[in-house]
């Protein structure tokens, strides 16, 4: 009996081993090396390993570095809030107002731009928002403005590009949540005399809150770690944390500083996770 269990266990271990080894070798190990690297120090062009706190001290004392964190946090929070506010009504309309057989189509259309490449999507916003882009040409043609608006290479452009992406993502997650609700709840509330608004406020919204929080967390994580959108749309007007990390790598090959900044980024994401852990359903995979 015990030997059968033993063979079974060995066999299972054999099945799980390749994936586990891959994750350990190419994810856990690199991460550990990066933590070690963040305590190293760059002298000239050589990396001196050791237990130096230089990078972290510099991060908290040099405004140009620390500002990356505040800029990233500000942009991410603005993007998350706007995206949820825009996506929720759309998901609600698709789930509640669009006839059932058109819902799939409506949803697929809502995420259509997902299928262009990520880099190209940010570039496309540049065409829309640029100095002589579509919006400026249209507004000037209509005589609304005399001089082109400077939107590209500002925080506004970064936020617009991000919101565009995350509205699509959040519409999907919130819709998935709404569609699981039994219509009986709303019907029961209506029968008991609740107004449409009261039904939404006291029934629908609380029931979909976990889905919203999960989507918002996903938005937060993807947004704060993204390099492309702020680099293409925001330019160098103000640098986010990922832009600073890339700058360290590119300019002087400062792996220690880049690693330290990455650890800071990880810490922020972990804090965000802990903050909304009790609403998240990530562990139910």
């Amino acid at each position: 009996m015990a030997s059968i269990e033993q063979t079974e266990r060995n066999r299972a271990a054999g099945f799980v081993a390749p994936a586990l080894i891959w994750v350990l070798a190419f994810f856990v190990l690199p991460f550990a090396v990066m933590i070690g690297m963040s305590f190293a120090r760059l002298e000239g062009r050589t990396i001196v390993h050791g237990l130096f706190s230089d990078n972290y001290v510099r991060f908290f004392s040099e405004p140009s570095l620390f500002k990356g964190l505040t800029v990233s946090l500000e942009i991410t929070l603005i993007v998350t809030v706007i995206s949820v506010l825009l996506a929720y009504p759309l998901a609600w309309i698709i789930a509640m107002r669009v006839p059932a057989r058109y819902q799939r189509l409506a949803l697929m259309l809502a995420v259509l731009p997902f299928w262009t490449s990520y880099v190209v999507r940010s570039y496309a916003w540049l065409l829309v928002l640029g100095q002589n882009g579509v919006i400026n040409k249209a507004l000037m043609g209509l005589g609304v403005i005399a001089e082109p608006l400077a939107i590209a290479s500002t925080r506004t452009a970064t936020v617009i590009g991000f919101v565009h992406f995350f509205v699509m993502l959040l519409t999907l997650t919130i819709y998935a949540n709404l569609i699981q609700l039994s219509p009986n709840y709303a019907r029961a509330a209506a029968d008991l005399g609740a107004s449409a608004f009261a039904t939404f406020r006291h029934i629908i919204l609380p029931l979909t809150l976990p889905g919203v929080v999960t989507g918002a967390f996903l938005t937060f994580v993807l947004c704060i770690g993204d390099y492309i959108t702020p680099q293409i749309l925001g330019g160098n007007s103000e640098l986010t944390l990922p832009q600073l990390i890339m700058l360290q790598l590119g300019r002087r090959g400062d792996f220690p500083m880049a690693s330290a900044l990455s650890i800071v980024l990880m810490a922020v994401v972990t804090l965000a996770y802990l903050a909304c852990a009790r609403w998240l359903k990530l562990d139910r995979v």
């Binding site: 271990a13 099945f15 994810f27 496309a124």
Partner: protein
């Protein structure tokens, strides 16, 4: 009133969603050198340039190879791990599950930086191989999660029946488990290919001479706005949509009862 508001909101937000794609595609047919109004097309000259661009076509091929191979590896590893964790009692299975999912919660930039650091130290040069390894790291959690969630009791019974009839474990996996999971496997593979195909930062840091398509497009951006970038962007869009529609009509079509 409520109805009007509903449709107005829908129209507004769909315009916002479509705006950049519409502009992208429209000005890919621009005849002059700048993809900004006024529209001077239609012309196919930029598409001809894209198709005649060797670097771009090579990058496209590289992307395809990396996407297909890394997704296949992620799918196989994810399937075996999901099978083991769904069917057997393993010590530390909660921890193992957590580890396999973990890369999902970490920004691609950090994964890329970690790999770059390690590869530098062991002397593995930036290459398509290095990029592919990174893409397996990001897609393995996805494949594992999808397949783990899809392994139900119905399947378990079929596997047990096959085993009772004397099928070896490999035969059970190959003839029972895998075919029964065809739809989720296809979904996992397709999603992985999409993510790998479109992934930028890992490929950017881990390739040098042979690059993938997003990296090549990125370097095109440095020379400013050009209808050529619109053309390659529109082509990628067209291909993705075609594949999507094809899959929608074949594999993911819900059987009508």
């Amino acid at each position: 009133m409520g109805r009007l508001l509903t449709w107005a909101y829908m129209a507004l937000i769909y315009s916002f969603i479509f705006l950049p794609v519409a502009v992208l595609v429209l000005f890919s047919f621009q005849d002059s050198r700048l993809p900004v109004p006024p529209f001077t097309g239609p012309s196919l000259r930029w598409y001809a340039q894209v198709l005649g661009d060797r670097d771009l076509m090579a990058a496209l091929g590289n992307s395809l190879i990396v996407a297909l191979i890394s997704s296949a590896v992620a799918l196989v590893l994810g399937f075996l791990a999901a099978h083991a964790l769904a069917r057997y009692r393993l010590p530390g299975s909660v921890l193992i599950r957590g580890l396999l999912i973990a890369p999902m919660t970490v920004s691609y930039l950090i994964i890329a930086l970690g790999l770059l650091t390690v590869f530098n130290q062991i002397g593995l040069r930036p290459s398509l191989l290095a990029t592919g390894i990174g893409h397996v790291v990001i897609n393995l959690p996805l494949c594992f999660a999808i397949l783990y969630a899809a392994m139900g009791d119905q399947q378990k019974n079929a596997e047990r029946a096959a085993r009772d009839l004397g099928a070896s474990e490999t035969r059970v996996l190959w003839h029972i488990s895998a075919p029964m999971l065809m739809a989720p496997m296809a979904a996992a593979f397709f999603l992985s290919v999409t993510f790998s195909w479109d992934e930028f930062i890992i490929a950017f840091l881990l390739t040098r001479f042979d690059v993938t398509l997003p990296v090549e497009i990125w370097s095109m951006l440095r020379s400013g706005l050009s209808p050529k970038t619109n053309a390659i962007g529109s082509l990628v869009f067209l291909v993705s949509i075609s594949v999507l529609i094809l899959l929608e009509l074949t594999i993911f079509r819900k059987p009508r009862r």
